[in-house]
Subunit: 273 residues, 4 copies
């Protein structure tokens, strides 16, 4: 086995997931990313940071080293290293290492956390290899089919919250917590989506009447995204037409229970004598 | 090109959206309205108002001037100016200018804000020209199809919140925040729609039992608007089939491009002899 | 026109809604009941009660008088007065008067309010006459069709909130607001139904993990009542089979697009030669 | 009637629910378990515990005795006692007794409560005998059919709350209540599921913008579990048709009582010659 052959096999293991080795590699990588995320999350807890800051930093450096080695391997075995390096995943892979190396010189960990979270995207990358992805594609295609309807819905909701927010700002005013129109719009979103934090609440009777309208609106129009998605999904699940070429005109697809070709009018199936 | 011809072309650009110029005009107008709204919204923020009140006022005057010119153009190029002036959109266009002019003499901006928000309606008017509107019509027809069911639903919900509100007023009473029946009805709406601000909460055990009933009711009957809308939408999406009763067997729906009935095999349309 | 004939016509007007007079009578009655309810609701507002208590009391006495006259009319014109008096609606009609008369002697209005709310039921009775009721029947039949599924769902939810409530009582304990198991179950209902008042919130990390589980459960299982109702409603809306008796065996209902009788195998429609 | 015969009849009554006696036994047992749970719940209320602690303890001992006798009966009449004792239900039955007996020696009732709640599982076991279970199976099969989609959905939600939680921790920081990433993730779950306790709320403008995005996301993606479940349930309800491919044209679904294919008119089942 020469060097090129080894590189080829490494490429299959690192970049593809059709072989057992490739699957094992990806699963291991997913686990390491998850561990790395858990360490970042734990480090944000004050009591843990006080006691184990150094230990967690060492572990995080370890993960950075592992990711750096992995990045090197990918560059080495890829047939077109530059193309990989400037692809989306290549950049994400690089961004998973850089903050860890920077953290050695600047301990300003706070802002590096945001960059490190991009590693999360790798979960999707690893999942692509899992049997679940056909289902995800299924859901995404249902979402894509209703993209336009969703945009109309979001525009309507944006208009609603702006109108209701401004109305509440005028009715309730800064003395009741509605300090500005943006804050009132934020309140309208909190109310329309039925979240209802309760940090800002209407106090005047008229404000409470408007609030009731916002709530009932929000409670009712949740039917819209649900309805769109359900109808689209049911459509996708049903959409199996009869695939039986008409013996006369060869039209291939027909209504599920068609007996005669809807194009030429001849029987699709011969009747037993 | 004479004056009348120019007016005709202006009319097409200003009032219609089938030409590239008309589309560009409407898009620009939409952007200006959005900017004008952003200025109103920004002006409501206390810290910005303190520092930039004058600047924002000048910008708003600029927008008022632009809208006034646009209103004049519409009056000028419309074949029936009076009919436009008293149409819904004509009045909205006028209302978009008046507060800006009034604001020069009276700086009582607070109350003018409500009138200015009516400009938002223009977003829908501009969207009518966008390809999204067929989708909006689609959603609206689904909503119209279930209008009666929605009225029955809203009457039931109104009855429910009145009964539960009164019950809570009697059970909890003013000492626990349920100061009057209207406030208790407001609380019932907040709870039934699962918003749950938490500004008014039941404190007695019996009040908490009634609250639990309200919540479970609200959690369950959200199925009603969702179910209505989904069933109506699924119906509308299925309804894209050819609606032409077969002259022989009366089967009503066929594939969009069917020439023969898929049930009895007879021609759907008679040939001209 | 003799006395009996007059009584007969009064009966038709008061008890039925097929004639214009009957419809007008019921609409007027609905309006009076609504006004009476509004008076009760207004009287509960402290500032109004202080200033207009006497006026509102007089108005309420007027309504009581009107309802008493109406009750007398119903007794007079009913062919079987006793049967009416002891029917559900007869008792509700009586209960709409009694508290008003009692209020003359005892001004303990607080507790009478609950009884007066029963008048609300008359809204449904009046609505029965409106064209909306076929829609209400439609919704109710969809709900009845899924009664068993709803019971299973409610039992599961009850079990869930009991288990989660007890768990939270043990984990968080009285020091964090979870003062007893019933209060913790109330909290679990507030959380599972996504209401989230915020009067009781988990404070320990383990309590927050359980809360997150309760929330995600509640967020997900809302699909169950929605799914049940939607599927049932879609079924009810679709359920239009082909009503065309088979010319050979007379089987009356077939699949919507059947070409041959599924019982005897003969063609349902003759083909044009 | 000999001893073995009596044991056999006892077995049928205790373990099966097809006979009237078996059904009565199971219903009684369910009621006793419910009473036992009510006693545990009541005992957790401070004011009741202070006054009736002894009485409730005696009652609970009584229930423990009843369950012990029942456990003995089950062991006695079971044809394979060891197999029962180590089955899931056998262990649950034992766990329903042990804490009660332990409570006599150690009054540390607090921790025993968790174990006692396992008795709740018996509700499902008893319900298995009720006519409702076919419905529960129905719902469960709909859930099982969409298991993969639900996993994809839960993974996406987990990723979303981690990303949004970390973002909010960085944006808002410990001074605004977002004390650590786990707490911020907890807040993201509270917000995404539209529960909205309000114990932690965003205070910076940027934090409120991110919150608005979380809320609108949560408000929209509730469509996903609902859509999945509804489509799956509608599929299951439609699926009550006869699934028998027509031997001639292969049409797969027919009316439940069809004898001939409704598409090609050929017999669905061959006659024995």
């Amino acid at each position: 086995m020469n060097n090129n052959d080894w590189r080829q096999r490494l490429y299959v293991m690192v970049f593809q997931a059709d072989t057992p080795a490739g699957r094992r590699f990806d699963t291991t990588l997913l686990l390491i990313i998850l561990c790395s995320l858990v360490v970042v999350i734990l480090d944000s807890i004050d009591s843990i940071h006080r006691d184990y800051a150094n230990l967690l930093a060492y572990i995080e450096w370890g993960f950075t080293f592992v990711f750096a080695v992995e990045y090197g391997l990918r560059l080495y075995c890829s047939p077109k290293p530059l193309r990989y390096a400037f692809s989306f995943y290549g950049l994400v892979d690089l961004l998973a290492i850089v903050p860890g190396i920077l953290a050695i010189y600047y301990s300003d960990a706070q802002y590096l956390l945001i960059i490190r979270i991009i590693r999360m995207l790798r979960i999707f990358r690893v999942l692509k290899l899992a049997p679940y992805l056909s289902q995800a594609n299924y859901l995404l295609s249902a979402l894509r089919g209703s993209k336009q309807k969703i945009i109309v819905f979001l525009v309507s909701v944006s208009t609603l919250v702006t109108v209701f927010g401004t109305l509440m700002y005028v009715v309730e005013g800064p003395e009741n917590g509605f300090t500005s129109i943006p804050v009132s719009i934020y309140w309208a979103i909190v109310t329309l989506t039925t979240v209802g934090f309760g940090d800002i609440v209407p106090k005047t009777p008229f404000g409470q009447i408007i609030s009731a309208m916002v709530m009932i609106t929000g409670y009712s129009i949740i039917a819209v995204p649900t309805g769109i998605f359900t109808a689209e999904l049911a459509n996708a699940m049903r959409g199996e037409q009869l695939k039986h070429p008409c013996p006369t005109c060869k039209k291939e697809r027909h209504e599920p229970s068609a007996a005669f070709c809807s194009r030429c009018g001849n029987a699709l199936f011969t009747k037993n004598a």
